[in-house]
Each structure stands twice: as structure tokens, then as C-alpha cells.
Amino acid sequence: MLLGRVVGVVVPAVVYDGLAGVPMLLVQPLDRSGEPEGRAIVAADSTRMAGPGEVVYYEGGREAALSLDPWFVPVDHAIIGIVDDVVREPR
């Protein structure tokens, strides 16, 4: 999994079976220090509680869909949890 920051909310008009009502959020990936890195992705929010500005951890691949119910859905990234804090080693 990787860290990301929610930077937007996607409002789909039509979705594949099983994805109705699943929040889709725009997530900016973060590097090891918490700085933005790379391009934003759209992730399904399995917590259904994340919102703009929050730091989250997300999974990619088949495991992303496994976080959802139903899980046999076409999803490649999903928010698994909301980060309270990251305690890093002192540098």
C-alpha cells in the first residue's frame, strides 16, 4: 500500500454493476516524506468516510477490489484506511 491525499471527489453518472454508491475519490500519491509524487488516481473508498484533505492509505490491483462489497468489481485502486498519523524515524 501507499500513502495518498484526497484531493477531490468524483461523481460518476453511470457505473458498472456492483459499484453503485461506492465513493470515488481523486487521490494524489505521496512519497515517503508525505510530499506529492506522481499523477493523481481515482480510488474507490472502502471506508466510505474519507474526504478531501485527508491522508489515506490505498491498495492497488486485485486486492483493491477485495476491500469492497461486492468484491468482484472492476476497481484497480481502493482506499483502505484513513491515516491518523505517521511516526517516522528521526533523520
Partner: protein, 89 residues
């Protein structure tokens, strides 16, 4: 599997039930000579690893779920060992 250094721990209250009461560690990947690459991964700890330790990370879903004893948990990366040393030839 990959080798990395545990450099942090992620604390989370709201998350998928699978991750409840599991330690989620920030692991920075090492290159072939032991230097840091800048890339990282968040992995579930199964061996009692902590910040400052070199660890072995399994980064594959089916094996990860096998280690965690879960049929359908949304897990891919699992810390499965603590590294003492790597001998280069």
C-alpha cells in the same frame, strides 16, 4: 520479496476491518547494495519488526493472504522476516 528499512509506523483508526489491531509499517526499499532508493511500501508486520530494522517484505497478494490466514483480506504486502545481514558476492 524485497528488502527494506522500517522507517516509520502508520496509525489509523478508521480503516478496513482486516487491518484492525495490525501494525502497518512504512518500509523504504533498498537497492542491491543496501542504499535507499526513495521508494517505499506500507506493509503489515507479522514478525515483530520495528523502526530501524531491515526487513524482508513479501509483496504479493495470494502469499500475503496465506501468511495472514485470510481468504479475501485486501492485503498484498506483508513483512515476513527481519534481516541480519546480506552477503554480496
Amino acid at each position: 520479496m524485497i528488502i527494506g528499512m522500517v522507517t516509520g509506523q502508520v496509525y489509523s483508526t478508521i480503516g478496513h476491518p482486516f487491518y484492525r489491531a495490525k501494525a502497518l509499517l512504512l518500509v523504504e526499499r533498498e537497492d542491491a547494495s543496501g542504499g535507499r532508493t526513495g521508494a517505499y511500501i506500507l506493509a503489515v508486520d507479522t514478525v515483530g519488526a520495528g523502526v530501524g530494522q531491515r526487513v524482508l517484505v513479501l509483496d504479493e497478494g495470494t502469499g500475503g493472504r496465506q501468511v495472514m490466514g485470510s481468504a479475501n483480506g485486501p492485503v498484498k504486502s506483508v513483512i515476513v522476516g527481519i534481516v541480519d545481514d546480506v552477503t554480496h558476492s
